[in-house]
């Protein structure tokens, strides 16, 4: 592909790992072979809430082939990324069906399972809390009576003595006063159930602790350094004694962020005399036992003036964090400071409240709370527009954010924040919301409808979250790029190669991104989450390339006897434009050897990092801040659906998406990300929900047969368009978009349902039963004399 210049950023170069993945050469954690591997089985709580009276490991240890068994009293250590509210195994209380209680390591999976089944556990059942309404009642059982004693980052505010693990308040202007001036006041409630990530590769971790005490972990994770850091905090290891290696990862979607199975594997490995131990969950455990997405109950009040401007907006988001909120507390926070979505509301009262329940653990999930709040917000905006008799597209345009407008936290956006208004217009036009939309189906049973929704998200991360890379030239002037951002499918390694090749004017094939993340060898990266990698790692690559270029020019300056600033890097050489003389790169990358035998320079290599600048904490009472987040990415989606009014079934026929991504780095990768996000969004919108059996506290549909995700038959026709308003601190203008692609889809479908049939469903997913019930209710209402409503 060389010979077309070196503007690799923006081109469809071949994925650097494509051949590995189509030949089966790519090894994922479960594909690795370890000599003398031991297999683990985890014993999990069968009750949703109980005091743990006694765990008897004895019978397990007598099963032939068992090497070790471990439970809470052996490793009573806390773990958690933002709030350390969990222990490796339950110690004195279990909090959900699936809570790890003990684990065994054995010569075979069968022996491990047999031993696990013999571990005797005495429980004293406690009243469970299954929903947030109950959890907030003053007399509700406390899921974490010790809440006040947990370690926690300063920007998370648990409320000891309650089930509230975090509460973020947004107060802007004077909501109550503004509401009184409004011509229309519209209130609605919306709900989102817990759902699961369903990566095709279930979680798996292999740990080994050698006889010198060094720890080595191979794991399917999004964040090797965060795994290392949290593991050290948990067990008291020195960071440099822990090596975390992440092979290829079969999808993450947030479920492999933070730390998951690694502490269990480590606790066992510490007792296995240097032998490796593999902890793998099966598909059913993947559904309920590791992590899920939080549920949401939302109540919204919009006060609108005569001109269709929302001037007062109240939002109350109550999150079902499940049994532990270690990560989920930050979803609560992000949803708080983003509570107004893509809109500029002047007077705001926002509350985002995380509540513990005895359900599976809520955690990070692609979008980090944004799809859930956009379900509420974008349904509400549509409902308000219809109620005041305004076109929903026009209503969005009147209220949306843009340069010079302020977010709910008082951040005034500048030009480089992106252009949501144009996204709205493009999507409305692309899906046909701008034309006369008399339903072509006439009065038949299949009704067609169109709808749209916006999306916005910022990276939710510590203000000093860093990415770094190392560039090293080889003798033949090929370049090795090492990073610890994880390619979970999004194409990070390819994108990093594009930036490096462009900056150093190399053929793309000359860049090798072949070190899979390894904390011993590759440089620090905080986490692969938050749609931050192209932006953060891309910047680090450009900086490191700049340093390499400086070294090349300096060596060439000696070689050519010219000042470095008179020279330029060209394809494969450094050139003196005045004399036309040049030195090829392969004579510079290891230093330059003169004819008389003396040498200058040396191996060219550079390490560089990127940390966003100028971020400011939120005000603790009002959450006002001039720059609470590093960047925003805006977008919108429009959908066209058909609804079978006899069955209530919705089919999504077509989706049009538009995002302002700053710079399209790789056209076919970004299309793929967008299509994948849309279909994942469609899944949560139409079919996905973890169903709790309220008698047992178990998840009743923890199989792929019962919990359906979209198949090739469900995927609609999709079109993706992109705007390129450059991000001021983005690498060549790029900003993140990975998560945003699934944010607006469910709300757009719900809005299309109103367009098609005149009924609104307030709770996800939009199952056929709910749609049918809404249609029936409307019919009943009509027969009852409310015709024309």
């Amino acid at each position: 592909m060389s010979g077309q210049g070196y503007d690799w950023v923006g081109q469809d170069v071949e994925r650097v790992d494509a051949v590995d993945k189509v030949t089966g050469a790519a090894r994922y954690t479960a594909d690795l072979k370890f000599p003398r591997l031991l297999h683990a089985a985890v014993v999990r709580s069968s009750l949703p809430h109980a005091r743990l009276l006694h765990v008897d490991l004895g019978p397990a240890l007598s099963v032939p082939g068992v090497k070790a068994a471990v439970c809470g009293r052996d490793v009573p250590f806390h773990v958690g990324i933002y709030l350390k509210d969990q222990t490796v195994f339950a110690c004195d209380r279990v909090r959900y069906v699936g809570d790890p209680v003990a684990a065994v390591a054995a010569e075979s999976p069968e022996a491990a399972a047999e031993a696990a089944s013999r571990i005797a556990i005495d429980y004293e059942p406690l009243e469970p809390v299954f929903d947030v309404e109950r959890g907030l009642e003053p007399d509700a059982p406390r899921v974490h009576p010790e809440l006040g004693r947990y370690e926690c980052v300063p920007w998370i505010t648990p409320e000891p003595g309650t089930n509230v693990c975090n509460h973020l308040k947004v107060r802007k202007g004077d909501f109550d006063a503004a509401l009184k001036r409004c011509a229309h006041v519209i209130e609605n409630r919306f709900a989102v159930p817990q759902v699961q990530h369903v990566p095709l590769e279930p979680h798996v971790s292999v740990a080994r602790v050698d006889l010198a005490g060094r720890v080595e972990i191979h794991t399917s994770a999004q964040s090797p350094f965060t795994v290392r850091h949290l593991l050290c905090a948990c067990f008291g290891f020195k960071h440099a004694d822990v090596r975390v290696i992440v092979p290829h990862v079969g999808g993450g979607f947030g479920g492999k962020a933070g730390i998951n199975l690694e502490p269990i594997a480590t606790a066992l490995a510490l007792r296995c005399d240097g032998r490796p131990v593999r902890v793998a969950v099966d598909r059913s455990e993947e559904f309920y036992a590791v992590v899920v997405r939080q549920g949401l109950q939302a109540s919204l009040t919009s006060g609108v003036d005569e001109n269709g401007r929302v001037i007062a907006q109240k939002m109350r988001y109550v999150w079902d964090c499940g049994a532990y909120g270690g990560y989920g507390v930050n979803v609560v926070r992000a949803a708080g400071y983003t509570c107004g979505g893509a809109y500029a509301f002047d007077h705001v009262q926002g509350d985002s409240i995380g509540v513990y329940t005895n359900r599976p653990i809520g955690s990070a999930y692609r979008g980090f709370g944004m799809q859930e709040i956009h379900w509420a917000l974008e349904s509400q905006m549509d409902a308000v527009a219809r109620e005041i008799g305004m076109d929903p597209v026009e209503f969005r345009l009147r209220n949306c954010l843009g340069p010079g407008k302020a977010t709910v936290t008082g951040q005034v956006l500048d030009e480089s924040a992106g252009d949501v208004a144009t996204c709205i217009r493009k999507v409305a036009c692309g899906i046909g919301l701008d034309v006369d939309r008399t339903d072509p189906s006439g009065g038949g049973p299949i009704r067609r409808g169109r709808g749209m929704a916006c999306a916005v998200k910022a990276p939710a991360m510590p203000n000093d979250a860093a990415s770094s890379v190392i560039l090293k030239f080889c003798e033949d002037a090929t370049l090795e790029l090492s990073l610890s951002g994880v390619d979970i499918g999004q194409g990070l390694r390819t994108v990093a190669a594009q930036y490096a090749a462009q900056a150093l004017k190399l053929p793309i094939e000359s860049v090798r991104v072949h070190n899979l993340p390894d904390t011993h060898l590759s440089p620090y990266d905080w986490q692969t989450v938050a749609s931050r990698q192209t932006w953060a790692t891309g910047n680090a690559v450009l900086r490191a390339a700049e340093d390499c270029k400086r070294q090349l020019l300096e060596t060439a300056a000696s070689a050519l006897g010219r000042p470095a600033d008179a020279l330029e890097l060209d394809a494969g050489c450094v050139r003196d434009p005045d004399s036309g003389r040049s030195v090829p790169l392969d004579r510079l990358v290891m230093g330059y050897l003169f004819e008389d035998g003396h040498a200058v320079g040396g191996p060219v290599a550079a390490c560089a990092h990127f940390v966003p600048e100028g971020l400011l904490f939120l005000d603790p009472e009002t959450s006002q801040s001039k720059k609470p987040v590093a960047k925003w990415t805006f977008g919108a989606q429009g959908v066209e659906i058909s609804v079978d009014t006899r069955t209530g079934e919705i089919r999504v026929d077509r989706v049009v998406a538009c995002y302002d991504v700053g710079k399209v780095v790789h056209p076919s990768l970004i299309r793929g990300q967008t299509f994948g996000g849309i279909v994942q969004g469609l899944g949560t919108g139409l079919m996905e929900e973890l169903v709790l059996d309220r008698t047992s506290g178990r998840i009743a549909n923890a199989t792929l047969a019962d919990y359906k995700i979209p198949s090739s038959l469900d995927a609609p026709r999709m079109e993706a368009g992109f705007l390129e308003t450059p991000q001021a601190d983005g690498p060549l203008g790029a900003r993140g978009v990975g998560e945003h692609t699934m944010i607006p889809t469910p709300a757009a479908i719900a809005n299309a349902l109103v367009d098609a049939c005149g009924v609104r469903v307030h709770s996800m997913p939009l199952t056929a039963e709910k749609v049918l019930a809404a249609l029936d209710a409307r019919e009943a209402g009509r027969e009852g004399g409310h015709r024309g409503s």
Partner: protein
Amino acid sequence: MTTQTGEQISIRVTVNGRVETAELRADRSLLEWLREDLDLTGAKLGCNEGECGACVVLLDGRPVNSCLVLAAEADGREVLTIEGLGRAGALHPLQQAFVDRAAVQCGFCTPGMILCALGLLGENPDPSPDEIRRALAGNLCRCTGYQQIVEAVLDGAGRMREGART
């Protein structure tokens, strides 16, 4: 459940063109045997319940979920795994189409997708997009939204027909 020991059987299977013989427990799945004993890890374990297609291999040219097939059932038959299809520099046209059409993201579903599509193309060398979607309905992908996979199969089918003509 069988534990520790079970009935032992011997099998003789042609895997990727090579005859493999083995003595193994009668209850072991074809997927386990391929992955653990032969180190052919291209076939993935996604669910072990026949619901995801990550484990698809071709058995006598037809796609099967190898997690649901006993190794014993492959006795005397031919198995093709992704490792037998092509390699760098000599990719099968369908693999090349997956590369060129950006039909690969995390890659966990990819071997099963390619083999399932190959099974379809063996019976129907010129499928429509709808026929491709139907054939791949048992192969889940959480990353791509399927659109580029369907494009890749269409493209690969074209390349294969082209190759057959020349």
